[in-house]
Symmetry: C2
DNA sequence: CCTTATTGAATGAATGTTCAACAAATCAAG
DNA sequence: CTTGATTTGTTGAACATTCATTCAATAAGG
């Protein structure tokens, strides 16, 4: 139908007409996969996991019904590919922030925390999609693995930084517990952002995390009333 | 079938033969509802939200297929009743702990945190069910409301306690951010417990939370290497 | 042409809901 | 207390719907 085609532009930023769209089959295949994954994230965010259908994904991408089974074998594989995509993106994002921070542990931890509240990662659409997967992770080993892998390396970096700050600045805390607590708090803040509880915004959530840093590492972070980075 | 009837006892602690089971229809109705809600939690924990079916719930309770639509009008209403049941139970649990704590704010916060890691509330089965609902909450206003109501009053109590400790003991932190951070951390720890990431146990999660308390309220809580309550 | 991508209708399986029949408890009358 | 009538609880099969998957036909690119 013509109506379906017209929808292509309005949803999911699906088609990228600016770039090399005519570069033959191979490129087109990757473009299509990415387009369908984005439509899947849209659907997960809008309808939730249990109501995300192949038809909805196809419609969201402005394509026909049968197309998803052509590029991905099954619905399950589409979902796994989507989760993998999000995990890779998340991982690349904090690793970039980590590298950019240089050698100072205080700067490292500040930038890692800030990265978690970056707009490109932390928005309603993606938070909702993450949460949709979390909700199914317990009963699906594949999801659990992909979600778990996300955290494992991430938390280890925090443990290491906390340990370094401890010996460098002579703190008394338990490094592992402090790092695990920070990671848990970051995830909990994501959860609250997604739920939209009590007018929590990305900024106020970030502020909560900064308050934690100021409390645990008073020698490195100062409390500030207004917004700002405040690496003392 | 006879096989189905025999299963009744093994699953969900369904039938309670000890109590007033013969007290007529009215009582039986409540018993059945509770039995079906427990079976629903079982199914959510075992299969996840998207694979929880009416048939599975009925089988889990050792009853026939059509029974759920008799006691609850629809699947949706069954799920809402289940979530409401869990929210009420959770609320009653922390309120009891709060009352039991008396007037000392340090004792209050310690008992509230401990209550969150109590076996009756914090076990794989219920954590998994909570998480299943969280995953669908964003796209279903009813769930969002019930989950949100859970947190609102809960967090307010923490804010109040933090404010009181601040003026009483002369701390410098921001009361709201500190309380919100603690609530977020508790939820994040639940999430990690449910995921089973990195061998996190109920005890180690509790320990992480205690480390946070020791950091924020050093005058009230002392750091301890081994387990224990340690209200200094 | 020939390969690849895409379409949309057909198919079959899964599942929520309905319902007529059945069982059991409660009550009324004898 | 017994018996019959009525309400209440329960069953399992039938029904209708939704949805993932398949596939023959078609369009597009090389």
């Amino acid at each position: 139908m013509a109506a379906t085609m017209k929808k292509t532009e309005s949803l999911a930023g699906a088609d990228l007409p600016g770039e090399g769209e005519k570069r033959g089959r191979k490129a087109s295949k990757e473009v299509r996969r990415h387009q369908l994954i984005e439509a899947t994230i849209d659907s997960l965010a809008k309808r939730g996991f249990s109501e995300t259908t192949m038809a909805d994904v196809a419609d969201g991408a402005g394509l026909s019904r049968g197309i998803v089974n052509f590029h991905f074998e099954s619905k399950e594989k589409l979902l796994v590919a989507t989760l993998k995509h999000m995990a890779d993106e998340y991982s690349a994002h904090w690793r970039a922030a980590y590298q950019k921070a240089g050698d100072d542990p205080a700067r490292q931890i500040a930038m890692l925390v800030a990265a978690d509240f970056d707009r490109s990662i932390c928005n309603r659409r993606k938070l909702a999609a993450w949460c949709a997967f979390w909700g199914e992770a317990k009963s699906r080993p594949t999801y659990q693995e992909l979600c778990g892998a996300r955290d494992e390396a991430y938390q280890n970096v925090f443990v290491e930084i906390c340990a370094r700050l401890k010996t460098d600045s002579g703190y008394d805390y338990a490094a592992y517990e402090t790092a695990a607590g920070l990671c848990a708090m970051l995830e909990g803040l994501w959860l609250r952002l997604m739920m939209g509880t009590e007018g929590m915004t990305r900024e106020s959530a970030h502020q909560v995390a900064r308050e934690y840093l100021a409390c645990v590492f008073p020698k490195q972070f100062s409390r500030e009333r207004s917004g700002g980075n405040a690496i003392a």
